[in-house]
Amino acid sequence: MIRVKLREDYSNLIFYLSPLVAVALTLFFGSFIFLILDLSPIESFKIFFMSPISNSYGISELFVKATPLAIIALGLSYCFKNNIYNIGAEGQLTMGAIFGGGIGLLFNDSTSVFLLPLMILFGAIGGAFWATIPAILKTKFNTNEILTSLMLTYVALFILDYFVVGPWKDPAGYGLPKSMPFPDAGRLPVLFDGLRVHIGAYFAIIICFITYIVYNKTLFGFKLKVSGLSSKASQYAGFKYKNLIFYTFIISGACAGLAGLFEVSGPIGLLYRDISPNYGFTAIIVAFLGRLNPIGIILSSLLIALTYLGAEDAQLFLKIPSAVGFVFQGLVLFFLLGTDFLNKYRVSIE
């Protein structure tokens, strides 16, 4: 019989080290995947993890991918800390892109310096709006936020679909499902000429800093911590859990919406169907791999961004499908959950 027992000497140090253990295990088991594919693991890892960042272009691309992941994951950490499982960030990202991008298309001949800030604002509002729906359903009808936020993701994707094949289709776009490009005033400034890394990266760092302050110094952060650890203690302290649900959903939705707007007004420059390679879902892994800690999330977003880049290079040079990147993301999550479980419980076979 397999017996699972709660550990009394649950280690905090191991809690923070376990992401490293998970990454090490991922590399170890990942090498078997390469072996099965008849590839040398060491060479493959070089192509997967080293070559993508061996030049300035590659490093810029790393930040391009890490920026949305970090921003979304930072937002999600508010929900997850509060034991609210918003897994609909992909939909909130899409809604942010529709709202903010919509402003860009509405004023498509504008040259005003206020256009971009307005788009950013509407991006955040769009995402927050979409996240409010599961929050209302949860607080009023006690529905499961995991289901509602996930389902709303598909609704958001269909709404985007409708706009880019319908009213917002570029008349000069040869009938392709995409909008016309945003005006220059609605494009996110890049940090270096010729590279795609944009000012969204600054936003990620600012949000990280604010989040760090909120978690460690403010009453709101304290409320999140208590509610996440014990709902009864949170009631004892007199905190209103329903309000916390709203605030955390709105924050995480706004962050996802911001990330969506940055994608379309940054690297992409217009609206079309596939604006996000599942950033909203991958950010869940980023948040947990970073232990819901703002600085940890920045680090883990860089690592996971690397799996995106590595997958592209692997496709190019190793002739293996880019889905291998998702396999690695999945492995990291799997091993992280595994190490967390084993840190919390002792398993013995009798």
């Binding site: 009394e8 304290f222 911590k225 009631q235």
Partner: protein, 500 residues
Amino acid sequence: MQSIVEFKNIYKSYPGVLANDDVSFKIKEQTIHAILGENGAGKSTLVKILYGHVTPDSGEILINSDLAMINSPSNAKNLGINMVFQHFSLFESLTVAENLILGMNEKIPLSKLKEKSKTICDKYGFNLNLNSPISSLSVGQRQSVEIVRSLLNNPKILIMDEPTSVLTPDEISKLFKIIKKLVKDGLTVIFISHKLEEIINLSDYVTIMRNGKVISTISTQNEDPETLGYKMLGYKVSKAKQISGINFSQEIFRIKNLSTLSKDPFTINLNQIDLNLKKGQIFGIAGVAGNGQKELMEILLNENDYEFSGDIFFKDSNINNLSTFQRKSLSISYVTEERLGHSAVPEMSLSENIFLSMNHKSEFKKGDFINFEKINSFANDVIKNFNVDTPSYNVKAGKLSGGNLQKFIIGREIMSNPELLILSQPTWGIDAGSEAFIKQTIIELSQKGVSIIIISHDLDELLEVCHKISVLYEGSLSRPLNVENINITKLGKYMGGLFD
């Protein structure tokens, strides 16, 4: 008489504690053998080892002088060892007979089992209807079901873990009669308790344990509560004494006609509760657990907008609809029954646990920011003033012993300067030293003019510190009795539901 059980050099350690440290003693056949010790002395661990529930690190158990390998409860049952736990394991929605048959090792038809159970009930005076569902039974009756279930296995040895903690005084004396009769008929009873008088009244021998070690095994014949208490603790504990003969005048808190109408079959509905508390008075709410204490506490705290009719007044203003936060701001403080996960978060530091309860106080905040410096120094004051044994305020609350954490929590609430302090089970499960300290602190607090309500199952504790005591029985609150000239028989009757 030969010894039926012999413990030989039993060791058992858990992370951080040695629960049993070289435990050796003998239990004579056909006796009532008590094991006495404070919470955490190792008595529960020891009997769980005897019952096969816990495996010792080393040591031997001899049953009738033969080495016994007891590695599971069913193994123990085959050797004639049965145990009645402190927490019952009964299925609420099944009947008594159905619960009894579920505990049987051998296959037996229900009709035959009923017959057998009825014989046992009649012989020993258990008042049980075999066809009633468990959910309709009182706590005392549930315990009877557990005992009958054990007796059906024809045990040689019956272990009872703190059996009196859930009973009224009347039920306790009935239980003792039953136990004495069982022993006369050949059973050996191992009785665990930390109540000194009970042990002297009931048992023949007592083994005293302290910090996992056996202090001594003696006959109870020449002992009185004081000598036994000294042996248990290793030091003298002075009893707290409430001052009598005070005239209280100013009313602080009043509950008027409070009733609930919940349809949930697993909650107790409160029935027209009236309570009147004066400034500086300590009011005790006695009663066996599960008679509405939880529900009453929930309404007093108002954590979940529990629905009720009637009114609650604090200093002449109606506080029915005020939230927990607002009530705390009015200087009403609470200490809940559950320490970990309710009035303290185990994973958080002591400082953070100060702020948990004090987040309504502006002195600990700078706008939306937390003023940790002030909180830390406040935590230090609590630790100092209330003798909390901890190296620092950064220690996680879960690392403190029960008694230390309770001193910290009560200290925290007292230092928030309440006018009304509501305590639920303030000394439950903590060491005698902390218990005495807390009782003394509560009494001193009342003398400073703070009004206090204590909800407790521990009658001795209430008699020691309260001015007035009412009994909660099935959701109704009895008339208050003055502790000064209290009629214990009447109190016992109240606890059994016989109000006048």
